[in-house]
């Protein structure tokens, strides 16, 4: 089977309020950036997969509102479909379409503008409307429940979570695309205001506006055309039970997604073989949990982009991890590191219900 490559990667700057750009403008910007990075034009793209969510966009069939911006109307029109979920799952769909043999290239784009709605209401709508929504939980308070379950179970050191904050915000401070670009000290993190105990302000990712995009291609198509492709070595994904039906201090779904991706990539000892990882931590403790489930041993090799604590646009966050992991393999990005093998992780659903893991190589 012909290998698949990430032929190009692009993203917008992530900010609290991209007031001068509509969400379609963000999609266009990320798509053009990925095409330029791949050395391709929209005419080279055989099909398009977008990731969006109607609640964040505030309209139904929001996928059709961004089709043009993702190049789907170009020429005679391109086969386009949409994933409602994190953009890294959309990339799996895009890769599958190439693996089907019907296409050589897929453009994958994911976006959201959290600034245009109310995140506490939109994420309250993640819950069952009859039995759960009236209680008033949202993604952040659910994160508080998971945080306590995690801390009670594993009893990490008092400042282990703060260390994640300091590391990621330190990396993020050098990332011109990041939403939060000020480094923080452990003391500042530990003294930031309580949001949903034990979570403090510094432990919680921002709600950003932004978009991310990749061009996936058959390796034989990319050869000679695309200047800096990285090879997809293995992908895995898995969904877990709802947050009320599983222990929140572990993630069987992430273990399974990681196991599948590692097996397909031929990775036997992830703690030694994964040189750089970009994981989707919506909260500082989640990076500890995801690292544990993915057997990632060296904190400084994780989230060198600044991670989600530095920039987090819902839906786009996982695809942005794939962008950053690709850059690291190319020796680029805000905090380069020597890497032959890199990992990108995305999640969707409350308290990390479903997970997607990509292993990439040079």
């Amino acid at each position: 089977m012909e290998p698949i490559v990430v032929a190009g990667a692009g993203q917008t700057e992530f900010r609290a309020d991209r007031v001068e750009d509509t969400f379609a403008d963000l999609v266009y910007e990320a798509a053009q950036a990925a095409l330029a990075d791949a050395g391709l034009s929209i005419a080279d793209i055989d099909n398009v997969v977008t990731a969006s969510n109607d609640f964040w966009d505030g309209r139904t069939i929001s996928s059709m509102a961004i089709g043009d911006a993702a190049g789907a109307a170009f020429g005679d029109g391109k086969p386009v479909s949409t994933v409602e979920g994190d953009g890294l799952f959309a990339a799996v769909y895009g890769m599958s379409r190439i693996l089907s043999g019907a296409y050589r290239t897929t453009l994958v784009v994911a976006h959201s503008k959290g600034s245009e709605g109310r995140s506490e209401l939109i994420t309250n709508a993640f819950f069952d409307p009859i039995t759960e929504r009236p209680i008033g939980l949202d993604a952040v308070s659910a994160g508080g429940l998971q945080a306590r379950a995690f801390l009670d179970r594993w009893k990490p050191g008092a400042d282990d979570c703060a260390r994640v904050v300091v590391k990621n915000r330190g990396f993020g401070a050098r990332n011109p695309k990041a939403h939060r670009r000020e480094p923080v000290t452990a003391d500042e993190a530990l003294r930031s205001a309580l949001v949903a105990e034990p979570l403090r302000e510094a432990d919680v990712c921002p709600v950003s506006d932004g978009a991310a995009a990749v061009v996936l291609a058959r390796e034989d198509f990319a050869r000679g055309r695309c200047p800096r492709p990285v090879r997809v070595r293995g992908v895995g994904f898995c969904a877990d039970a709802p947050m009320t039906q599983r222990p929140l201090w572990e993630s069987a779904a992430l273990r399974e997604a990681g196991r599948a991706a590692y097996r397909r990539a031929g990775v036997i000892e992830p703690s030694r073989e994964i040189d750089a990882a970009e994981v989707s931590e919506q909260f500082s403790f989640q990076e500890l949990l995801w690292r544990q489930e993915l057997s990632l041993a060296v904190p400084e090799r994780v989230n060198r982009s600044g991670g989600c604590l530095s920039a987090h646009a819902w839906i786009a966050a996982g695809l942005a991890r794939l962008v950053e992991a690709s850059l690291l393999l190319r020796g680029e990005g805000p905090n380069p590191i020597e890497a032959r093998t890199a990992l990108a992780h995305g999640q969707y659903g409350l308290c990390g219900q479903s997970h997607c893991v990509w292993v990439l190589g040079r």
Binding site: I130, T131, R133, I135, T244, Q245
Partner: protein, 151 residues
Amino acid sequence: MSPPPPETLARESRIQVPYAWSAGATLTRFLKGLRDSGRIEATRCPACAKAYVPPRRTCGICFADCAEWLAVGPQGTLLSFTQAAYDSPAHPRPRPCFGLIRLDGADTALLHLLGDFQPGELEAGRRVEAVFAEARSGSVLDIRHFRPVRP
């Protein structure tokens, strides 16, 4: 000094669509139990014996019908808790405390509010009990909240 950024207009609105989500037969029995008799009922999977509350008609893990009913609670064990230190229009009361509670006899956790507790009284493993609302309407909020069990 740099000039002020150009004005960008926005249309402010809200999506107003009334919904009436049918509870279906299974959740209707559960909600009527709360409303009419202050009973909390679960369903059990015949294959794995897991007791679900709120009750589910099917067990996703076994892909089987959960036909058996059983009463659970009203006491249970607090698995985790948090307090929202911010305002949200979704909150049923200001600065709500949320709990993840495993009711006695159930295998899944119930998300609900916590109340009537002293500072420092909450911890994982704490025994809690349901406090029912006086006026009940067939809603999950017919349980007003859970409070610590005191001797």
